[in-house]
Symmetry: C2
Subunit: 146 residues, 2 copies
Amino acid sequence: MPEFLDLFSKTHKTVRALSDAAMRAHGLHEGQNVLLAALWAHDGATPGEIAAQVRVTTPTVVKMATRMTAAGLLTRRRDEKDNRLVRLWLTDAGRALQEPVEAERHELETKLTAGFSDAERERLLTLLGRVHAAASDLSEPRSSRR
Amino acid sequence: MPEFLDLFSKTHKTVRALSDAAMRAHGLHEGQNVLLAALWAHDGATPGEIAAQVRVTTPTVVKMATRMTAAGLLTRRRDEKDNRLVRLWLTDAGRALQEPVEAERHELETKLTAGFSDAERERLLTLLGRVHAAASDLSEPRSSRR
DNA sequence: CGAGAAACGTTAGCCGGGAAATGATTAGCC
DNA sequence: GGCTAATCATTTCCCGGCTAACGTTTCTCG
């Protein structure tokens, strides 16, 4: 199996497990933190907006929002001016998670790159960034080519 | 949001989408290729063995095996000596996918690291490997510490 | 103004992945 | 030898993610 692909997915799996456990400690499921992050930055966003920003499909956001509403983290309300839109609003509980969750994620990041010098950390980000750019180009060949 | 965690998950998402599309071209769903790879290396393995090797839970393998059996990629047969065990055997169709699928994944890997010098590629693998090691240690603190 | 097009959210159905409970079979030990 | 332990696979139920189909509401254009 390809070296990079293999290592990359293995790494992702273990990192994801850690992230999952860290979020669970705050009563969240993996992935819900990114939806919350979108609202922390822009409360009252619509499912479509969030989906686009988080790079996920709208149905995914809708389902997560349903569960998170049931969990008391946010509320749904239709936009009064444009009744096609639905806006998601944080509850106090949802807002209260911002600081502890952000701290938790920052701590995880620190632990994962413990032992890295600033230069190494920088190199890793740069190289990963190039892979990301290459992957993005492959999935949606923007610009260039004629 | 943490820099590395963010970039890492974004990259994984796009890479995964590419991998998914590539596998779909061969009639597979994302992830099924790793199960097949396990069988290509050791036909007749049990769900538990595969799960351990692929770092996934047994139920996941069982469910995938059910679908892949229905798709004609493999067959289930209980071990004659130990009837608790179930052994998964490749069908001709499952075996026939090895070469094209491996080629496809190798090609994807090449495309993702296009433009990388050998040294850069090596650095990326090394750095990712360190993150993987750190994550593994965090999830199951083996050895050390007293 | 009114009908068709466009923009949104929602639902349904599938897949991979996990935890917990169940069921069957074998291993071990008194 | 028989009863309890351990070992496996399987089932059930969640969650995140995607695609496709659907229903509403708003736009737009004749």
